[in-house]
């Protein structure tokens, strides 16, 4: 049944995207390991940079899954991203062992600094990777479940939901800034040494992390694709377009919303967990409401309601950001970002990918070439034909 669930997702476009992601995920790290004199050599910092973008793309994909397909505009997805990041950060902190500044074999440096005597209970288990890996998915998922359970059941929708998700991430931001919380307070978690016994700074490790990010993004894409192509996905789109009508037909709307919200939060958590070892730090700033809203704009630029859109949007906007902020134009980046928000909502409501797809569809020749039809529309057509 699961294989059928996955196989239904595998149309030609999905193959292309998956192939592309895996090719990039394998090729770039290999090129980065070549000799610097090699003409196609890729410097390590480029790997780190693009690896970061891939994590952002996965975050954007998770936002798109709830916003583009279910109409839930979450302004708190950075919270799930950061929680995943913190779970990974805690594992990496425990791997430091006695190599910290204070050389305490049990306690991370910041706890020694705060005169703590023993590890708080919620740090237990994070010395095992498998435990951290479970937490990376479980913690954001649990938060999303509790939050969504209450919110969807009491039918908090639209902008109200957006505002309380923002309040949620803001409350977490404030909480993680507190030293008493036991997550390093203001400074967060940093100074990582090893991951699974490999030096986290080594080019080979970075290459593997990059590949893992590309793989995670590909898997995320595949899962989203499978969800959207399923009957469940159809109901999601129905909820997005006419929530009350869907409810009256007899679907339990809150259940559908809850499942997709939790799934999306888990994806965001995985994105955060891959982001942290590549960046080398996680601090409460990641919870900032502005980060969540930025992730939303990646989706809007790329095109919500398409699965390629958020990936393209995240890559485009972040390439732009890097290009702008590294040059003399750094000061003007916020102007550009702000203008992007306004311009996309006013002139490109479907985003770049959505607009291109719509144009391709409008061309008369494309009716005979189904490949140009977007995955969703293809699946809708398939469903209707069936």
């Amino acid at each position: 049944m699961i294989t059928a669930f996955i196989f239904r997702a595998l149309d030609r476009n999905t193959y292309i995207v998956l192939g592309l992601l895996l090719a990039v995920g394998i090729l770039l790290p290999l090129l980065s390991l070549t000799d610097p004199s090699f003409p196609l050599h890729v410097p390590t910092y480029v790997i780190a940079l693009i690896g970061k973008y891939l994590c952002y793309a996965l975050l954007a994909l998770s936002v798109d899954l709830v916003w583009g397909y279910c109409g839930i505009l979450s302004l708190g997805h950075a919270a799930f991203f950061a929680l995943g990041g913190y779970a990974m950060g805690m594992y990496l902190m425990r791997q430091i062992g006695a190599r910290g500044v204070y050389a305490n074999p049990i306690l991370p440096d910041f706890m020694v600094f705060l005169n703590w005597n023993e590890l708080p209970w919620f740090w237990y288990g994070f010395d095992h990777f498998w435990f951290a890996a479970i937490m990376i998915i479980a913690v954001p998922g649990l938060l999303a479940f509790v939050f969504g359970w209450f919110a969807f059941r009491s039918r908090v929708t639209g902008v109200y939901l957006s505002i309380i998700t923002q309040a949620m991430t803001y409350a977490l931001l404030l909480a993680f800034f507190r030293n008493d919380m036991g997550f390093g307070g203001n400074n967060g978690l940093t100074d990582f040494k090893d991951i699974l016994g490999f030096n986290i700074q080594a080019p080979a490790t970075r290459g593997v992390l990059f590949f893992a990010s590309a793989l995670a993004l590909a898997l995320g894409f595949l899962i989203c694709r499978a969800v959207i192509a399923s009957k469940f996905g159809k109901v999601l789109i129905a909820v997005r377009d006419a929530e009350s009508r869907t409810r009256f037909i007899g679907y339990r709307v809150e259940g559908y919303k809850l499942v997709v919200f939790v799934l999306s939060a888990m994806m965001a958590g995985v994105a955060g967990s891959l982001y942290v070892p590549q960046i080398g730090i996680i601090n409460p700033g990641e919870f900032a409401p502005a980060n969540s809203i930025e992730a939303v704009i990646w989706v809007a630029v790329g095109g919500r309601g398409t699965l390629i859109g958020p990936i393209v949007g995240a890559l485009l906007v972040n390439f732009g950001k890097t290009w702008f902020t590294s040059g003399v134009l750094a000061e003007y980046w916020l102007f550009v970002l702000g203008a992007l928000f306004v311009a996309v909502t006013l002139f490109l409501p479907k985003g770049v990918v959505g607009t291109l797809l719509a144009r391709a569809k409008a061309r008369p020749t494309s009716t005979s070439a189904p490949a140009a039809v977007s995955p969703i529309e293809a699946s809708i057509a398939a469903e209707e034909g069936a």
Binding site: V159, F177, L337, L346
Partner: protein, 542 residues
């Protein structure tokens, strides 16, 4: 002769007055040379009594003499036993008569002897100098000295206090002296009647210091009557202090609530009444604050005399600047997004980034200094509550803005049109109301009010490009909590959240209190998705 005749009664009067002085305040204003010279006679014991005698005169010169004595600058002239302040000058000493403050010539080193002091004497000098200030002509200094004596509560000073109390004319100083005496009495071994009376005096003070003294008196466990009185008084003060503590929390909460109200009230119009999610609302507040800064800069450089009027000048300007920007935003962006709230949210977020960066580029990223006019600085006491003037004015101002806004919406043609358009747009339009025009002006009104809030907030917050960011989430919380579309809800919501926050703070700390309030609101919205005062009717399910 005739012209001289009136002098005789005047002379007699002055003599009588001097005699009175001599009676009530021994030697005040009289020649204190004998007491000063007594310092130079004999051993430490004699010196001690001489210091006490000198201090008892209360003569202004005595302080200088005692000061010189403790510094070891006081010398006796062997020839006549007179005491001078002496400073080394060449081979000998330059002498100063400290009583008259005049130069008294020089003396050879062999002609004078230094008056030696030890630590015990120094201690005595310190106490004596303190009591001297009790007789200082300046009532403020006397009051401060009396407060010092109250704190030290030294039983040895009771006789001195008795004499000073008898001569004190200023009621405020006198009350303080009486309290100081009572505090000293409680530490002395005087009769229990005296102590019970003292307990009553201290209890009337009713503050934290009084509580400390009374607990001390009660714990001493000397006399059962005193202990009972002290315990009863301490109990009642504790109760009162707790009450005042509550009152103080309420005041702080009201103060925070007024800030929230100011920040949210413009949003209550744009979001509550019009349904526009304006994420750039905080930036409208910021623009108002920067307008205040610019006005103050111009006044500082060109018209310094007008500084106290700077806020009054800034108010209309801030309204115009923020309101103008608001109208511009509505006309250029928001009107294309009506009915698409999530897109509006994103577009206005973009606008907020642009405005922040524009201000950062033009004014720089650092905090700008906005001064308090004189009528907004300082504090006053209300019972045991210290209220700062700027906080008080902001509370008054917030309520004033709210009242004016209510009047505009309920009593003016413009308000009527606004309500008509928000309630039923097609109907309003068909009745001849220019709905786009009303939209723009209403959005401008909401933004302008945010600008006015910026003027007030510039008085208590840092004026930086990030100013607005600090308020945007709180503002939305207040509006959503209070109930969208209901200005009264915003008022109640702001003060409820402010007071709740301040009552949680003592137990949870500032940050945790804020988190708890946020969590509370999130849960509250689950229960009442439309806020405290929900609008009823068909327009709700738009």
């Amino acid at each position: 002769m005739t012209t001289l005749r009136p002098t005789k009664p005047i002379l007699a009067f002055i003599i009588a007055l001097l005699a009175m002085f001599a009676l009530f305040r021994p030697a005040y204003g009289a020649d204190v040379h004998p007491q000063v010279n007594a310092l130079g006679q004999g051993d430490y014991a004699a010196l001690e009594s001489a210091i006490t005698a000198l201090a008892a005169t209360g003569d202004p010169a005595a302080a200088a003499v005692l000061d010189a004595l403790s510094n070891g600058d006081l010398y006796v002239r062997k020839s006549d036993g007179a005491v001078f302040k002496a400073v080394r000058a060449g081979d000998g000493y330059a002498l100063t008569d400290l009583v008259t403050g005049t130069d008294a010539g020089t003396a050879a080193r062999s002609d004078v002897t230094k008056i030696k002091v030890n630590n015990k004497i120094r201690g005595q000098i310190r106490a004596a100098s303190g009591s001297l200030t009790l007789m200082n002509p300046d009532p403020k200094l006397r009051y401060a000295a009396a407060a010092d004596v109250f704190k030290s509560a030294d039983p040895a000073q009771i006789p001195l206090l008795d004499s000073v109390i008898a001569g004190e004319k200023d009621t405020g100083v006198k009350a303080m002296l009486v309290q100081a005496r009572a505090a000293a009495v409680l530490k002395s071994d005087m009769s229990s009647d005296e102590k019970v009376a003292a307990v009553a005096i201290i209890a009337a003070r009713g503050d934290q210091d009084a509580l400390a003294i009374l607990t001390g008196a009660g714990a001493a466990g000397a006399d059962p009557a005193v202990k009972a009185a002290a315990d009863a008084a301490a109990g009642s003060i504790e109760g009162q202090l707790q009450l005042w503590n509550g009152v103080q929390n309420i005041w702080y909460g009201v103060s925070l609530g007024s800030v929230l109200l100011l920040a949210a009230i413009g949003l209550a119009i744009t979001f509550g009444v019009m349904g526009i999610i304006n994420m750039a609302h905080g930036e409208m507040v910021m623009l108002g604050a920067y307008t205040t800064y610019v006005v103050q800069e111009i006044i500082r450089t060109s018209y310094p005399g007008l500084f106290d009027w700077s806020l009054a000048i800034a108010l209309p300007l801030a309204f115009l600047v923020s309101g103008g920007v608001g109208v511009l935003i509505e006309r250029s962006v928001i009107r294309f997004l009506y009915g698409r709230p999530l897109e509006t949210l994103l577009a206005t977020w973009g606008i907020s980034l642009i405005l922040q960066q524009a201000v950062r580029t033009y004014f720089g990223p650092n905090n700008r200094e906005v001064g308090n006019p004189s009528w907004m600085s300082g504090t006053f006491d209300l019972g045991h509550l210290a209220i700062t003037y700027n906080r008080m004015w902001i509370v008054v101002f917030a309520l004033g803005v709210f009242a004016v806004l209510m009047l505009v919406l309920k009593r003016t043609p413009f308000g009527l049109q606004t309500r008509a358009v928000t309630q039923n747009r097609p109907m309003a339009s068909s009745m001849g109301i220019r709905t786009p025009y009303v939209d723009a002006l209403t959005f401008g009104l909401g933004s302008g009010i945010a600008g006015i809030a910026g003027v007030a907030l510039s008085q208590i917050d840092n004026v930086s490009p990030n100013l607005g960011q600090n308020y945007i989430i709180d503002s939305f919380m207040v509006v959503v909590f209070g109930g969208v579309g209901n200005l009264w809800g915003t008022l109640v919501g702001a003060f409820t959240l402010g007071i709740a926050n301040k009552f949680l703070e003592p137990y949870a700390g500032a940050v945790l209190a804020k988190i708890l309030v946020l969590v509370f609101i999130i849960l509250f919205i689950q229960k009442r998705p439309r806020g405290l005062f929900a609008l009823k009717g068909r327009s709700v399910e738009a």
